[in-house]
Symmetry: C2
Subunit: 920 residues, 2 copies
């Protein structure tokens, strides 16, 4: 805790609300907690002044004081609490501890950010043998009163006398368990099963037994004194801020310890006072569909916790809320029309006031409606998008607000089928890997690409399970519903390919033991074999045994498109797609991509229909002399040109960044004997000779080997062929009246002379093509990928030659951190678990390291060339936090796989809204 907290003077400690007034308001969440602030808002804001049971909130500052001062309170707090209690008494006409008309209060925690279930609540405080008769007289319901007393003793003994006192009993020896045991005995003795079958007398006896037990176990009597109960409860809530559960929850959610919790003391309202009482929860709009009608459920003669507990099935609050389960139940609108009308009116006012969909809690005590809580309601993806669009249409919110109302993961729900969350909750994952491809999928296990294709032909759904994948698996990957690998990271071959297709994929699932010969997987002690069903959650990296229920991707493309249009009006950062085929290019445009940020020449050799060009590529790779290589390149040229031409055409003048061949060549050398034999024959060399050549290509660390521009330098004819293909394609399209903007990108550059060398080739070929095609100009740009740390350092020198930069953050991350993306599986899980790293840097940009180098690259590059176009084409281009970072760096665009384009568009728009406060 910073020293400032210790020395800071504490301000006003207690904030009252009730009777149409409130000391606090919604914006004071930091001081009053979410609950306290919203209660104050509802009770006191001039537009609302809703019927809220009166109460007061002790501030979070008191919590901080409490923990910094040996669990004591600031001077004068007791007096303030008394004064505020008196105000509640004045408004309710009841008196705390009064034998005739006693006031009961609830004592609840409330942090700045909701921490559901993490801290404590004590209800019915103020109930003692002295006040019980009065309450019975008031309620005419002795069973209700003794049940309330029974609950108080249980809660108080557990929360205040045991937990807050720091007593940690052995398992099943906690006081609550022991009291529950007494209650179960009472039911057994009476031969009943439900708590509700115990009558007032039973409960009265039980309360007496409870008190004996409390004294026996905790060595202290249960305090039958209202004030002692109140202060015990307040202290227990503050104490719960430092409870084990709360601490570990804060750690996960990143909530700082110094925030503290507030305590809200509020007069009790009872929805269980007979058939004129009720309790319920609702949403101002449907959180599952976004439908703009009030949605909720209620129970007559019940307390709030009963609705949630699910013991009784609640009724629909109105017709709009009726579901299959509540077909025959009457709605609140039907049974208490007046209260419903008031509630409906309040809900309308609340939403208008808060300008968001709200989650509310209410109780009706003897026909009188009370609002107990309101807060911004959680919603699923489709609902979030619909609500944002509707509210924008209703002029309730601005475009900027609409954009902020949908999280990237909510938008993702609209793009992919997912595993039904309920089914997931009910099943334990078999294994956990890295979330490499989004959405969910299920299918039967197959172990080879060949089988995947064969089974698919038989109409089966399959999941391809591999140690790791390579380009030879691509057809099988396409045939499979999803891909699961034991090795590899977020940018491994499987992950890249799957993400490009928007296909579900889990990689690096290290705990899987795959035995290809036996065709089995062993995981969590279970053995699965070929044909067994598994289900994957690719958004979380989870693997389930069996076939789990799925939810389809929203079919409402219209709503997605409408929402993206709003985002487009807000964002500045352009969004492009990484696309390697004309089909991908077309899909990318559909999703809203404004160009192609990465067209990888070598990727045309992957997958379906690529057998012939792949064969020619292989010939080129194992060529030994320039003559052999030029011959193979001539054959390849036709394919490369055709593919580039089709892609340029599909993009209709939008920029297409074409990266010259990059990966280590040996990646393309076949492993299978027959393919090797065919290759040897075609080259007219022996198999031995071919194998010797292939062996020469092997590298210790291929990621830092003979690849990218290094190939273009040692074999200029490879660059030449590609550049010629680009210029000829563009020139021919130009003659057909199709506009094109190819951007030639050189990868793996680390020194300016490499770029100059390649530019010279490019310029020479350009002149040659101008002549041979008889055209005067072919619009294009020449630039470089920035993916080697040194390239960031000398970006100024590169900018002298390059007209654009594109950050290749996959490789930049590898080399900046010294992490081979295919090998992090051995230590990354430990690194994340022990918080050595906050995130997998292959998922979200490592801003302090990789990001710092990027910033250097941007600054130095633009120093030399002010209008330098800068983008990013690593996988990070589709990850929201990384997109925001790119926006803050002032990049011109991000580029990502087509299926991530909508997410990137949203993140780009949100980046604009988030930066606004800084700009003012």
């Amino acid at each position: 805790m910073p020293a400032s907290v210790l020395t800071k003077k504490i301000g006003k400690c207690v904030y009252f609300f009730g009777g149409g007034k409130a000391d606090g308001k919604e914006s004071m969440k930091n001081l009053l907690g979410g609950k306290g602030a919203n209660l104050a808002e509802m009770a006191g804001h001039p537009d609302l002044r809703l019927p809220v049971p009166p109460g007061f909130t002790i501030t979070t500052e008191v919590c901080t004081y409490y923990w910094k001062n040996k669990r004591t309170y600031p001077k004068g707090l007791r007096e303030l609490v008394s004064q505020n209690l008196a105000r509640i008494e004045a408004l309710t006409g009841k008196k705390f501890g009064d034998p005739k008309n006693p006031l009961l209060v609830s004592v609840r925690s409330g942090a700045r950010k909701s921490m559901p279930g993490m801290m404590e609540t004590i209800l019915n405080v103020g109930l003692t043998p002295q006040t019980i008769p009065g309450l019975i007289a008031q309620t005419k319901n002795d069973r209700f009163v003794y049940d309330a007393y029974r609950r108080l003793i249980m809660m108080y003994a557990d929360v205040v006398m045991e937990k807050a006192a720091g007593i940690t009993p052995a398992d099943d020896q906690g006081i609550r368990k022991q009291l529950e045991h007494l209650m179960n005995e009472a039911k057994k003795r009476k031969g009943v099963k439900q708590d509700t079958d115990l009558d007032a007398k039973d409960l009265k006896k039980l309360c007496a037994k409870f008190k004996v037990k409390v004294q026996e176990v905790l060595g202290k009597p249960f305090p039958d004194e209202p004030s002692e109960q109140l202060w015990g409860s307040i202290g227990a809530v503050f104490a719960s801020w430092m409870g084990k559960r709360a601490i570990s929850y804060r750690k996960i959610e990143g909530i700082p310890e110094e925030w503290g919790t507030a305590v809200t003391v509020q007069s009790m309202i009872f929805g269980n006072m007979g058939t004129t009482s009720a309790t319920g929860v609702g949403f101002t709009r449907n959180p599952g569909t976004g439908d703009s009608r009030f949605y909720g459920e209620y129970l007559v003669n019940a307390q709030g916790e009963d609705v949630v507990a699910g013991i009784r099935t609640p009724g629909p609050i109105n017709e709009a809320s009726r579901s299959d389960q509540s077909l025959k139940r009457k709605s609140l609108e039907q049974v208490m029309p007046e209260a419903y009308q008031e509630l409906d009116d309040i809900v309308t006012r609340l939403e208008k006031h808060y300008r968001d969909m709200l989650d509310i809690e209410f109780t009706i005590e003897k026909r009188k409606l009370y609002m107990l809580q309101c807060r911004v309601g959680k919603r699923n993806g489709p609902a979030a998008v619909k609500i944002a669009l509707d509210m924008l249409k209703e002029k309730l919110i601005t475009k900027e607000e609409a954009v902020m109302r949908v999280t990237p993961s909510q938008l993702d729900e609209l793009l992919h089928p997912i595993v039904d969350p309920q089914a997931e909750a009910a099943n334990k994952p078999l294994a956990k890997g890295l979330p490499a491809g989004p959405g969910g999928a299920k299918g039967q296990i197959v172990f080879t690409a060949h089988e995947a294709v064969a089974w698919k032909k038989e109409g089966k759904q399959v999941i391809l399970v591999r140690e790791e994948t390579n380009p030879e698996d691509v057809e099988g990957m396409r045939a499979a519903q999803a891909i699961l690998t034991a090795r590899g990271g977020m940018t491994s071959h499987a992950a890249l390919v799957a993400r490009g297709w928007g296909k579900c994929c889990v990689v690096g699932c290290g705990t899987l033991e795959i035995d290809l010969s036996k065709k089995t997987i062993v995981a969590s002690g279970k053995t699965l074999k070929e044909g067994d069903w598994i289900t994957l959650n690719g958004s979380k990296g989870l693997v389930y045994e069996g076939s789990l229920a799925m939810k389809d991707a929203s079919e409402s493309n219209q709503i997605l498109n409408d929402f993206l249009k709003v985002c487009n009006q807000v964002r500045r950062l352009k969004v492009r797609a990484n696309a390697d085929t004309p089909e991908d290019a077309a899909r990318a445009r559909q999703f809203g991509a404004e160009g192609i940020g990465l067209f990888r020449v070598e990727h045309m050799f992957y997958g379906k229909g690529s057998a012939e060009p792949l064969f020619k590529l292989r010939k080129m790779i194992v060529s030994k002399t320039e003559e052999e290589r030029r011959a193979a390149l001539d054959e390849l040229f036709v394919h490369v040109k055709a593919d580039i031409k089709a892609t340029l055409k599909a993009m209709q003048g939008l920029p297409v960044t074409i990266r010259t061949i990059d990966p280590p060549l040996h990646e393309f050398v076949p492993h299978e004997h027959e393919k090797l034999a065919a290759l040897a024959e075609s080259l007219g060399i022996s198999l031995d000779e071919l194998e010797a050549r292939a062996a020469k290509l092997r590298e210790s660390n291929p990621m830092m080997g003979h690849r990218g521009v290094r190939l273009g330098i040692t074999y200029p004819e490879i660059t030449e062929m590609q550049v010629r293909a680009i210029f000829e394609a563009a020139a021919e399209l130009g003659k057909e009246g199709v506009r094109t903007l190819p951007e030639i990108m050189i990868p793996v550059v680390c020194v300016e002379t490499e770029l100059k060398n390649q530019l010279a080739i490019c310029e020479r070929v350009y002149q040659e093509v101008l002549k041979s095609q008889s055209v005067r100009v072919i619009g294009h740009l020449f630039g470089t990928m920035i993916e080697i740390p040194r390239a960031c350092v000398i970006a100024d020198r590169l900018a002298e030659t390059a007209q654009f930069f594109s950050f290749g953050t996959n490789d930049l991350t590898q080399m900046t951190l010294g992490f081979s993306r295919d090998d992090t599986g051995s230590f990354m899980p430990d690194y994340l678990k022990s918080e050595i790293l906050p995130n997998d840097p292959f998922q979200t940009i490592d801003q302090d390291g990789v990001g710092a180098l990027m910033r250097l690259g941007v600054e130095r590059g633009r120093k030399i060339r002010k209008d330098l176009k800068i983008g990013i084409c690593g996988e990070h281009g589709g990850e929201p936090a990384s997109v925001e970072f790119c926006h803050s760096l002032g990049l011109n665009y991000v580029s990502c796989s087509p299926f991530r384009v909508p997410i990137a568009i949203l993140a780009a728009a949100q980046s604009v809204v988030k930066e606004k406060p800084k700009r003012k």
Copy 2:
């Protein structure tokens, strides 16, 4: 050429010297060229005023003007030349073009830096049919005169009329060849063989034929007009600055084009005027031994070029210069005692004046001595060191100067045997690789470590030839005279090990085709087999066929030590050694190391006597559970502690940086079946299981895989074992009264949390050892290696935990440039050849990239911790340019292999001297 040259006004164009006066001086080299400046110094400096034939120098600025102004001269130059020519005439009493007593002049080039043989010289200018009779009358030697005329025609036709005119004839069709042909015909006709056998008549006829031929071939007459000859010659010298040879020489030597050449016109002196004339060259001290006596040779009745040409065997200038070849020849001292005495006196004065060993040229014309040239003399390594030390003793030079008088490669000659340079000059290398281990070696080819050991036992000298080496080869590497590999870079396994031992080694010799099964090497079309002799030059990376003569390393250790003492008094940068064994540590101290900058725990498992600990290490590596691993670590602990203890003891309180286990573990997994079987048995597991475990350790890019601190994080027990070994060793030595300063260094760190994690382990173990050893304190430091680019970027955060940094520039270079050191062989030769890179960045630090990150690391680290100790322990620590860079960065020390320590000490001292001008 910068624009400033164009607009800059030209100053004084012509500088006269002679008659005890000179317009110029030695410090005006940039303007007058080396030759012109030194002539002016000798002629005009008040301390010297030596007998120099009078002459004048046209400045380099005129050369620049000439090339920038369409080969014209500044206004007034002709007049200036005439005036200066008149001054020569006045001093010599001869007249240019005078029929009775004609003046002849030489016209020579002279650049700022000597460019031997790259530019032109024309002698005997001024000789024409008009002046010939006068010269004959003066010299009484018509043969001499016609020979001079014959030479003038040949030189002039070749240099002025052909080359300078831009005529490029076909091979063997040049005018010089054609004139030589005429001369050969004349000899044939007369039936003689030597030029000297042609008499005056023959030569006179020949001159007439020459002129006819010149007119015929070049279409112009030879100009028999003194002034035309003079201006033709001047123009030709300026023209030669842009000759092909000169341009390519400048490119190699990095000499800027804008320097230009000066032209010196000087009156001719003739050493071939009979027995009272002579000519010679000398050194003020012996350039081969450093002996401080005047050393030189001479020829009676000869011209300067005859001494160099080697047609006649020269005599010794004095007794000190007498060699086996000149045993019977009289010395100059004997035959011309007076001239010798004058020369000896001049030499003494010159050396005192120049304060360095000089190379001089002189001519005696009819008993009169003339000095023709003087410049700083070239010398070999031992001579350079001795001369520097002697001159320091003689108080001729300061310590700083002495330090600058020896180049690192000269010092290296004292440390290693080398291939005899004459033998090298006479043989063409078979192949060229990277110079990985210094010096020379020869031996018979063997292809396996096993054979190397076996052959060595039989008393044979062997050279181990491998594709690449691995730890299993270490015994064979030790047994071999030298190591030659086809793959790998400057920091490959072979290179590191060899350099550590100071052993000759050539790596990455990609043109070798090694066939292990046939036991052959194919290179340059030749096939060598097992047992064939080869010779390696490890300082240049050359491989020769056969057994070449060798020169031993200087035995004079005393002189080396004396010189290093001088360096020590000058330098600030400390020098440590990389040493992995107690023996290496002892050797490092001998060489002057002030600590160990890198002790690699894993290296104790390499080489001789390491079989047992290596076996245990392997057990640890393939352990699957923490229990297995702890058991193996317990066994290892004994070895690790013993080795560390012995090393700390050897260094007697000097700092010893101990790096925790770093390399990818799979490097240590054996490949041989029997070793695998033994390992499996010892672990009590099946061979299959062992192979499965080993396979799991395989990585795609091991350099960026599970290594260094990543091992320490996932297996904290590995760090724990090592730290415990260090503390226990130090504590025990402390009790024995031995001072120690271990520095614990964590490798591969890229994020501050890694370091904190390891520090926590270190601190816990420290407390445990204090207790168990009952000591109060064990002095030590905790720090980190900086070898990942990200570590430089976040160095400030690392400095919060680390007490020292040590740059691991090998890995930093790999990741900053994305160059895998083992895989650069495929493109580095092309990169160097086409000047994409100026140097191999694994040899000399890439200052713009890696160096920029280092600077960032130093600045950020010291911002947080002002007294942060920073060193470098990559292989660059022993490379002079890199040492200088480290000095300029303000590092505290460099660390390198023991055999490079003297070089590093010298480089460190030179860095101080070089920086001085900046400081003033």
